[in-house]
Symmetry: D2
Subunit: 342 residues, 4 copies
């Protein structure tokens, strides 16, 4: 069987490494290039652990689209770098899946406010499809440029979307507390992410001001059909992988608040989605989703406080990054949605 | 100098061990008994680490108030057990500091709903003083029975009290997310608290239904002078010590929402409190308070989302338990408030 | 394609869970039973995380060989329990892979000394094949009862065997320090394995007296052809998975001690072994082997101290238990050695 | 009471921070300067957690001995930097306690081989006293320049010294495996010490070639009166604080190997030493010594393998660095040996 040729840009980071691992095992894909300029020449296995095959593969410098034989390109680059690279890749007919935040926000001013970088052109953004398969699969199937969602954004949007789609919660009442493992910060030399500073510690950061806030609001506004505003507070937790997101919202005053309505919404929208496991009665735990492409969602309605509590959890490097990127590739390339991901 | 004689009940648990450590170093106190029925006869040093003195001290069985020479008794017992013990101790003229939840809630029905145990008698409860020194020091100074606050409750009440006291937030808009280290669950053999189940994991528990919820509401209602209802979601985090609490609330519609009003409230109420470190501009971190009696509080006002975010952190075994108990003893016994705690 | 039917006994433990995960993905096997008496009736997914398929599978009680349709049985039971079960399984024509220590030691007195339990019968032991594929593959291919090696034993034997086989180190000079993650102690409720006791801690245990000592000596004596005696000291380390083993030995006085001799021995014996990665120049790290069936081995010769240092690392639940069991099954059942393990 | 004025050089590192914490609480000392050139002007409390006093203290740049009013100087600088600073400090009449390796090795060639830096002058080295109070207290009492021992070295030397002093083990048979928390590597931005690389991992480093090897050999040779050669292999473990050292040695052929001889040696030498807790029957654990100046030592004799196993543990930042430095100061300045350390 002919395999699709794939290249990973930014292959020395944690999302890049996870892409290599997943693509390595994907039966319909052949990994041809692992680009990482600063590590060029080093063995992939000197940086990333546990690769099954290709122990002898080396990181390469990218030297232009001209000679690039890959048909699909995964960009796991720092924010800002994908903007420069994407036009040439699209021009050359590549399918591009961008894991950075560069092609997610349709509002250029918001991009520039949160990412401190000039936004992608309107022309490019008009081709960008938000890669959340559970809500956008039709557009993804025909996309050439897919903006892979952020890790926190995926966990919050999937946890809230059924309730907003069905008008069950007030769109201005949403508080999102996120707790993330340290791999979410990327592979970098920094005292603030050193073991001694992170271990036995918790700290909030960018409280009320994180760049995934407008991404959540954009997606939820579109899904709910009404403007949504959220307060989002992320926290750094001393674990390697995983995001845990706890959300509160007020039930919609106009609707019957029985708990079954909330459960029904999740079952209606996610009953046939292979990577969403909704179980109202089971509290999600990171350890159940680590190293998988699943998102687990739980629900608790507290009638005497007029609140719905939704908890979701996923692996930030898999469903929150590389796994979702492969899921998007599967849709865009006509492979089975779960191929290489179970 | 004559030293006060002190006994610790429930001395083999984590709060009990922390009490031993603190009392050991306290210049005005002599630790005379470490009661722990199931460990009676064992060396204290076989259970608790790093004690400075008294390597030869043994746990004892408690066999009645008659022969008890201690003048002050610290109860670090499981919920429910203190209720049976307190009347005889008070009768015998002891000062009692109860670290359990048994003497905190004035509403017996709420106690019984959340603790699944018969409440203390009205007569005993009429003598019980809520031991939150920053808001209740006058009553504590003359108390014979002090109900030492819960760990989560301390972190949430101290973070919210100045805002409610000054009418700056809506009392029905409060969402509290707590993240706790595992020592908060006590020293026990249980698969759910075993290393492998907790490590690299996060999970919510008793979401919207935790027993510290009515304690927070009782204290905040009294401080704010208006009924307060909170939604509280605790989470178990893979660290040994520390609680991190992130709170959102809506600014009061009737008041000017300038950020300075919020800061001023904290500075007004805590400027002279030795164990509260409020720094609006610094995000609290557990590592700054671990093994100390400090609570650190930070603040972020998000005007375009109409939310105030308050973050607080403390060591659940110190300011959240044994340290606050010693602080209460200092007040009740006329010692300097910070003695033995710096 | 017809699939082999497999049953797992002791399926609720950590090795059992890893077996379920691996067998689930194995193309030539169909998992028909997950036996776990104390968890019978519970969903497998309520205990074990992240299973790809079979979310609805339940633990069962084992009620006798008569109705057991599985052709291969994996025993992940506590030491002692396999002894009672194996005769009937063999009688019924099952292939048995025993992950416990019950069928490893040929010397019954040593078994009884270290395991405090009556040894298996001589008749059964005569059928037992030690399941270390890198050194015993021929016997494994025709075995009906395979004694799957211990986790520490696998890491030490594979690290030493080439040197003893080639007579390069003194067989009475060997010191083995093992460091293990906590999953090695099994899934159990015990204060000594609770998070708070293990986290931020290290402790040796059974120093010089661990039950894997005679297992190492038996295998290495056979491989080296001379009596081998080792001093083995295991340590508990606050990680979930993985064993790190550091070994020192004196170069054989009779042989040339040049470093190349040592390297050559590893390359000679392991050059074609799919799960052994020997790299003299790279220090092994647990993170490279976690969740894989690889063992990584490194080597350092210190001529001016007359010592060879060998370091090996593996995942105690995979190459140290369930993965090696599947590797043994692959050999015994005629599947490719690496099937389901890459 | 007049207090001794103390300055800390390299105050922004982990040992420096621990010195600040200990000196802050020391009744006979007043901390006057916290020198840290790269952090000059920053609040000490912005880097180090939980300081009791002096929240407003700032790091300073050191601008010469001329204006330095401190009487005692603690140097917690990177190796190599103390060499340049010490002559002027001694000249100016300061007592100097150097926590680096710069003034420990009497053999300049060995210093240069292991530290890759020119050694201190013979004149300075002739004044340097090795600051191991349990074996060298007399010299320390009159020293002006104290070379504070390394963390691994302290744990190994104290564990072996009684046996070598009494001629109970063969001096060429010693194997030392050390396991250290990450704070031992210092406070630095480096991928290899980032949380994600260290967490859930173990790795050996500088196996057989660590710079504490000659330090151990020098001290043990002096104590034992015969040349000692050790093989030392350090490992990085995912904990913040603590060193665990496991040592094997062969009992001396010339001496009676009864276990009591070994125990007696420890009790003879350490019975009156306030910070050494020898308990043959209790396996040491890091959690018992963390945040204290104690070293715990345990012993296991394995007669049928002709080995003695000694296990020791200490907090690398306290008994392994800052605490031992304060203990040395106490001796050199005539304070009680345990002052400020219990």
């Amino acid at each position: 069987m002919k395999q699709l040729k794939a290249a990973v840009f930014g292959a020395s980071g944690y999302s890049g490494g996870e892409l290599l691992r997943l693509l390595d095992r994907h039966p319909s894909v052949r990994l041809t290039h692992a680009f990482a300029n600063t590590s060029a020449g080093a063995l992939v296995s000197s940086v990333h652990a546990g690769r099954a095959h290709g122990d002898a593969m080396e990181f390469e410098s990218f030297d232009g689209v001209g000679s690039l034989d890959a048909e699909i390109c995964f960009l796991a680059l720092p924010h800002g770098e994908a903007i420069d690279l994407v036009p040439a890749l699209l021009e050359a007919g590549k399918i591009v899946i961008d894991l950075s935040g560069d092609h997610r926000l349709t509002n250029a001013a918001e991009y520039e406010r949160f990412y401190k970088h000039s936004a992608a052109s309107t022309k490019i953004m008009s081709q960008s499809v938000y890669g959340l398969p559970e809500w956008n699969s039709e557009a993804i199937r025909s996309a050439r440029l897919i903006a892979n969602p952020g890790c926190y954004a995926t966990s919050a949007i999937l946890a809230l979307a059924p309730l907003l789609a069905n008008g069950l919660v007030e769109p201005d009442s949403i508080v999102i507390n996120g707790m993330s493992g340290v791999s979410g910060a990327g592979r970098k030399a920094a005292i603030e992410y050193s073991f001694v500073e992170v271990n036995e510690n918790i700290r909030a950061y960018r409280a009320g001001d994180h760049q995934h806030t407008p991404e959540m609001e954009q997606a939820l506004t579109e899904i709910g059909g009404k403007p949504v505003q959220v307060t989002f507070i992320p926290h750094l937790i001393p674990i390697t992988r995983g995001i845990y997101t706890t959300i509160t919202a007020r039930p919609s005053a106009a609707r019957d608040g029985r708990a079954t309505r909330f459960r029904d919404a999740f079952e209606e929208h996610y009953g046939d989605k292979p990577f969403v496991r909704f179980r109202a009665e089971r509290i999600p735990e990171i350890r159940r989703v680590a190293n998988t492409n699943y998102i687990d969602i739980g629900l608790r309605v507290v009638p005497d406080r007029n609140q719905v509590i939704i908890m979701s959890t996923l692996d930030n490097l898999v469903k929150g990054a590389a796994g979702q990127a492969v899921q998007n590739m599967n849709l865009a390339c006509g492979f089975p949605e779960t191929e290489g991901l179970l």
